[in-house]
Amino acid sequence: MIRPASEEDLAGVVAGAKGPLSIQGGGTRGFADNAEGERLTTSGITGITLYEPGALTLVARAGTPVEEIRERLARDNQRLPFEPMDHRALLGTTGEPTIGGVVAANISGPRRVMVGAARDYALGLRFVDGRGMVIRNGGRVMKNVTGYDLVKLLSGSYGTLGILTEVSLKVLPKVAASATIVLGGLSDDRAVAAMAAALGSPFEVSGAAHDPGTGETLLRLEGFDESVRYRSERLAELLKPFAPSRMESDADVVAKLWAAIRDVTAFAGKEGDVWRLSVKPSDAPDLVGRSGAKQSLYDWGGGLVWLRCDDGTDLRARLAAFAGHATLIRANAQTRRGLGIFQPEPAPLARISAGLRAQFDPRGILNPGMMG
């Protein structure tokens, strides 16, 4: 395992690389397992380099543990708004998730449905491209349209366009209170409709999930005490036609409920392949029906669906054409190779993506084969 201690070291390693590199941060998300090559980790390039609570800005080197950032922000009563998922329970991995990994894979949690994804909070970054050049894009300010937005391009590119060395993030204040309305016994169709009604209301729902396993539909509200109380009463009223509800307002209980949704712990330790679907929310129940999955979980009001299927199931073939995409998150090496991690793109887009990879990594050494 190559473990550079600085951006400069990393640039040297890439420039001098003789063959492919398989890139990871803390190695908790399993993505490096999908690329051939010598293992390289950014976990040695660490440290928060700037934090200005009054400007809602934090800058950290890529290998900085997410936990360290969370703790630092908490001391000033702030947080990462996009609530990144922790993959360790689902994948059975160990190690320390890094902020570079979060941005490189655009990892977001339940709050994404209201506040946006990791990529929406990435203000700037530094990375080393496939030539070993250090490149900077974006900055540390919230509004920045100076030049092309390579920050978005690199977020979610899984290291195939460059290896992140530093990210600058917009952060937000923590909330004083949170509550969750729980509806019971809804079919998937009705649950998605209830979540749509909630998300379409002015009550600022910051999480909308449905677990067919427990039959519970969860809707989260966050903010100042009075405001949360008022909005949860109004929302419960609005949802009456769907099902009777109960209210959970103990902060610890609410936090645990949503950590479980975020980390898909309902699937942890259970056999089978795990797929992640990104779809138009109202399409979700039909797709879940067609999938033949053993277990499912709806997040983002139905826009994000987790499926646990029999080993080796070609889910994309089973679903046929649909608007959105299916990513294979957990499977054995043979299935991963056979089906591919990412949904194949239509030809013109695949051509553009391949063209970008060739421009940023002309030797094809950064996580080759991972994204096409």
Partner: protein, 482 residues
């Protein structure tokens, strides 16, 4: 501002190009008469003008594809144009370029409330997107000042912001998908009604690429439920520093207002004389707006007022009703117009870290005295997006150049303190040559490589974004407008 010399071969074959375009389009969609093409000679950066070879106004994605195919075959540059409201010269033509205006593409294609999106053709104006959904209780969040006129196409090209983006983000955070035509005529669908990219996030780099990667003809936009209500509070201070501290303390306290607007004394005086909004005469004025139910608004404003009082304001006024709220916003919304009454002005758009606000305002004041040109500051304080308005006299020889030099110095200062050249207007031609202040040659090279993939011949929106010297080799290699 230097522009590339037009390619004489293209000028010579104008008749052929026009006739090929006419064959491909409906009658009247090709404007080639010299008197009529003058309507497209500039955008809102009107100091720079150049009539195009011709202008085309397609009515469908298929027509856009046909136009681009022809221009690609003929090697003719294309300048996409929304409503022409760019303050950065983003739609400035060259004499050998075809202007592709999307104004006729203004339909709403689909409204989907359960999934909270609207799909529109991109010639539709920003405000009319909200107009299409507001009776059903929804709105489209990005709200640039020009929202009455500006087109979604231009919003996407420039990744436009607005006063309310502290809470709702800018265009890129509210854009779910596009239909885009590449320079060779290929139509691609990127993104859609789902919430994230399935591969490399192409949508993320398309938004804000200033029309240089493709022509976006349709867009899927996120719409949001309208809040129950909103209320502004007006706070006056006798120093910029204290106002800056107040903003920082509010943010640190955990309140997230939808807007925090800041005006300095020259701006307050000008708008007061123009709009009579009843503003106090002071050094710095903040307009802070919060949203929600009446109870939530009371709760948030109570906290904001408490923090504001700690800094000894000279004025603290909460809107008691809709009329008073409108009066508080009146001055801010007419600030640019008011400054325009006094003088010609140039509006800058640099962003700075909020913590650098007092220092930057002080330096701008010093530079204003050195240059002998007045400057007013009105800006989005919550996110550090400054809008210094430099006053000059367009009829006085040398004044525009002096103003541009002053502007360049302010933007360099923004970069020096950790900010950037442009927060929401875009680079266009205006800030093109300053890009080297913010980026290394390698940084710019990485950006230009993206254009190489989407538009290998460098035909789309020529001479914008990248300094001409940086793009010279590429432009020479493709034989276009050397």
């Amino acid at each position: 501002m230097e522009m590339p010399k037009p390619n004489p071969e293209i000028l010579l074959k104008k008749a052929r190009i026009v006739s090929r375009l006419q064959e491909a389009l409906y009658d009247g969609a090709v404007i080639h008469d010299e008197a009529e093409t003058r309507a497209y000679e500039c955008d809102a950066l009107s100091a720079y003008r150049c009539p195009p070879l011709c202008a085309v106004l397609p009515s469908s994605t298929e027509e856009v594809s046909a136009i681009l195919k022809i221009c690609h075959e003929e090697g003719v540059p294309v300048v996409p144009r929304g409503s022409g409201t760019s303050l950065a010269g983003g739609a400035l033509p060259t004499a050998d370029a075809v202007i592709l205006g999307v104004a006729r593409l203004n339909a709403v294609l689909e409204t989907d409330y359960p999934n909270r999106f609207i799909r529109v053709q991109t010639g539709r104006t920003n405000l009319s997107v909200t107009g299409a959904v507001e009776t059903d209780g929804f709105f489209y969040a990005p709200d640039p000042s020009s929202q009455l006129a500006c087109a979604i196409a231009g919003n996407i090209a420039m990744n436009s912001g607005g006063a309310h983006c502290l809470k709702y983000g800018v265009t890129t955070n509210n854009l779910l998908g596009v239909t885009m035509v590449l320079m060779d005529g290929t139509v691609v669908e990127v993104g859609g009604a789902h919430m994230d990219a399935g591969g490399i996030d192409l949508l993320g780099v398309i938004c804000g690429s200033e029309g240089q990667l493709g022509v976006v003809t349709e867009a899927t936009l996120r719409i949001l439920p309208k809040p129950e209500g909103a209320r502004p509070v007006l706070i006056g201070y006798d120093s910029n520093e204290v106002a800056g501290e107040c903003v920082s303390d509010i943010i640190k306290a955990g309140v997230l207002p939808v807007a925090i607007e800041f005006m300095d004394r020259p701006c307050i005086e000008a708008t007061e004389a123009f709009a009579h909004a009843g503003y106090p005469m002071c050094e710095a004025l903040l307009i802070i707006e919060v949203e929600g139910s009446p109870a939530e608004i009371d709760e948030q404003l109570a906290l904001i007022k408490e923090i504001a009082r700690r800094h000894n304001p000279v004025e603290l006024r909460e809107a008691q009703d809709a009329d008073e709220a409108a009066r508080i916003w009146l001055g801010r919304k007419s600030a640019f117009g008011a400054m325009g009454q006094i003088n010609d002005y140039m509006c800058l758009d640099g962003t700075i870290p909020v913590s650098a606000l007092p220092y930057v305002l002080r330096r701008i004041g010093e530079m204003s005295r050195e240059y002998g040109l007045g400057v007013g500051n009105v800006f989005h304080a919550g996110d550090g997006n400054m809008h210094p308005l430099i006053l000059y006299d367009a009829n006085k020889p040398g004044d525009l150049e002096l103003c541009e030099a002053f502007g360049a110095d302010i933007l360099k200062l923004c970069v020096e303190v950790g900010g950037c050249l442009t927060g929401e207007h875009g680079v266009g031609i205006e800030k093109r040559d300053l890009m080297v202040v913010q980026f290394t040659p390698e940084d710019l090279e990485a950006q230009m490589r993206v254009k190489d993939v989407f538009d290998p011949d460098w035909l789309l929106n020529p001479a914008k974004v990248f300094p001409l010297a940086s793009s010279a080799t590429r432009r020479a290699a493709t034989g276009v407008a050397a």
